[in-house]
């Protein structure tokens, strides 16, 4: 259903394309492997992840700090390539075609695109998923959790030392209707409350069912549930109304990607404050800066990319729409990029 719910499926994807992952031997100095995916080459060293691609017979190169790269790739993998564009930064990213995925460099950077030094290649989802997971496993050192806020994890830098499969392999059970219902995703009562949410009440709603209606009413404490999230910038579904998905998440520091959606997405700020930098989806040129505080709700139009900043860990309700064929309907102009005319 929702791309968000693919989070529990990569294992499968990895297993059936794992034999196709192209990896070098570990570098004798840094300890890291180099990976190739089509014409893309991915390498890392003590500080940087480096991406190379061909352009007009030349090799083009782009580097990102390894921590930023791993945080972005962790989201891309966990989200199953999500909706639309996952920009790791202003140069590199992926675009989901739901079954296939584009990997691009410079293709959504105004100047690089214009200069013709961009490159895009399309891969079957299982192959890119297996490759990205292999990169995550090889490049994530002991003590670094790419899902965690910087204040809550160690450094991603240095030569290869250990691994952190536990952080990378967190799996999630897809929500069908609402967490806590029978045969649905679990609540989070065994997870500890995050240090930034120690003041969030942990009481549960009263649910009283008349005889004969046992189990037909259901309620839970959503804020408690969110206060126990052990990851940042990683939405998960908490209610499903047809194709309408409430996907709340807890946010701290910087959203590791610039998300360019292929549909309209909405944000409802449940607690604290997030600042959003909004850029043009195709070129990255700045469009707006939006400050959202508790109770604020706004739309992310289908023609922008967005990156959020949250200093105090905050609760954000992301509202997605999983209606089939939306990308085509927005691209064709049938649907306007913004949701409401007034």
């Amino acid at each position: 259903m929702a791309m968000l719910d693919l989070a529990d499926k990569p294992e499968t994807a990895t297993s059936y394309a794992a034999d196709k992952v192209q990896a070098s031997a570990a570098d004798p100095v840094t300890g890291y492997r180099t990976f190739t995916l089509g014409a893309f080459r991915f390498s890392r060293d003590a500080y940087f992840a480096t991406i190379q691609w061909p352009s007009h017979g030349q090799t083009r190169t782009h580097a990102m700090p390894a921590d930023a790269f791993l945080r972005a790739m962790m989201r891309d993998v966990a989200w199953g390539f999500f909706y639309g564009w996952v920009n790791f930064d202003h140069v590199f990213g992926t675009r989901n075609h739901y079954g296939k995925v584009d990997v691009y460099a410079g293709a959504f950077n105004g100047v690089m695109k214009e200069a013709g030094v961009d490159y895009t290649e399309t891969f079957e989802t299982p192959l890119i998923m297996a490759t990205f997971k292999a990169i995550l496993h090889d490049w994530t050192n002991a003590g670094f959790d790419p899902f965690a806020a910087p204040e809550e994890t160690g450094s991603a830098f240095g030569p290869k030392h250990g691994e952190n499969a536990g952080a990378i392999e967190r799996t999630r059970i897809a929500t069908r209707r609402m967490p806590g219902l029978p045969d649905d995703s679990p609540l989070r009562d065994d997870l500890p409350v995050n240090r930034a949410f120690l003041d969030v009440p942990q009481d549960e709603p009263t649910v009283h069912c008349e005889p004969g209606f046992e189990g037909q009413l259901h309620a839970f404490n959503l804020f408690k549930y969110l206060s126990r999230s052990d990851v940042t910038w990683n939405p998960s579904v908490t209610s499903v109304c047809g194709q309408s998905l409430f996907c709340p998440t807890t946010e701290e520091y910087i959203l590791p990607v610039f998300h360019g959606n292929d549909r309209v997405e909405w944000f409802l700020q449940l607690s604290d404050e997030i600042i959003w930098d909004i850029g043009d989806k195709n070129t990255g040129a700045p469009r707006a800066r939006i400050t959202m505080r508790a109770g604020d709700i706004c739309a992310m139009p289908a023609d922008i990319r967005h990156q959020g900043y949250s200093t105090k860990r905050s609760m954000l309700l992301v509202w997605e729409n999983a209606t089939p064929n939306l990308p085509r309907r927005y691209e064709s102009g049938e649907l306007k990029p913004y949701p409401v005319d007034f």
């Binding site: 009481d203 709603p205 209606f213 509202w319 007034f342």
Partner: protein, 161 residues
């Protein structure tokens, strides 16, 4: 040094609306409102649409006193944002017309029970049941559902532009 954190939730009486700094384009396209402000300025139980994605909506309601009975042919969900609300449920004897969104009803059927929600609590409003809200003190609800006959759209009034 151990920092202590204060989590800021909003409420009908205490919200601090954000803003948009536009560099290019139109602030209207972000359809930016604040659910507490909307609830504060609306009639009790007016189902004001604050988010719309094709046929799907988020509505905000000021819960104040007893609401009429609502019923809906599909699942809806309610989250109490800033206070206590009781939701009573009735299992309807007759099945509802398959339309989007909630309708008003005079429920005929057996009482299923109730839930009491406080800040941050979320309840399922199951398809095919009637439900009504009741509060002692006014508070803010958000509902996830579909655009229906009771949905009120007043974007120009509520949104930054």
């Amino acid at each position: 040094m151990k920092p202590t954190f204060k989590t800021h939730f909003g409420s009908l009486a205490d919200y601090n609306k954000g803003n948009i700094e536009v560099t290019q384009g139109d602030a209207r396209h972000y359809v930016f409102s604040n659910v507490f402000e909307v609830a504060a300025k609306s009639a009790p139980y007016e189902r004001v649409v604050v988010g719309k994605n094709l046929e799907y909506v988020i509505e905000t309601l000021r819960a104040e006193g007893q609401s009429p009975w609502f019923a809906c042919a599909h699942d809806e969900f309610v989250i109490a944002l800033d206070g206590e609300v009781r939701v009573d449920f009735v299992a309807l004897d007759q099945s509802l017309a398959q339309v989007d969104g909630a309708v008003l009803t005079e429920p005929a059927g057996r009482a299923m029970g109730y839930v009491v929600l406080r800040q941050g609590h979320q309840s399922l409003l199951p398809a095919g049941c009637a439900y009504r809200f009741g509060t002692v003190e006014a508070c803010t609800l958000i509902l996830q559902g579909k655009l229906g006959a009771l949905s009120v759209q007043k974007w120009a009034e509520i949104c930054l532009h």
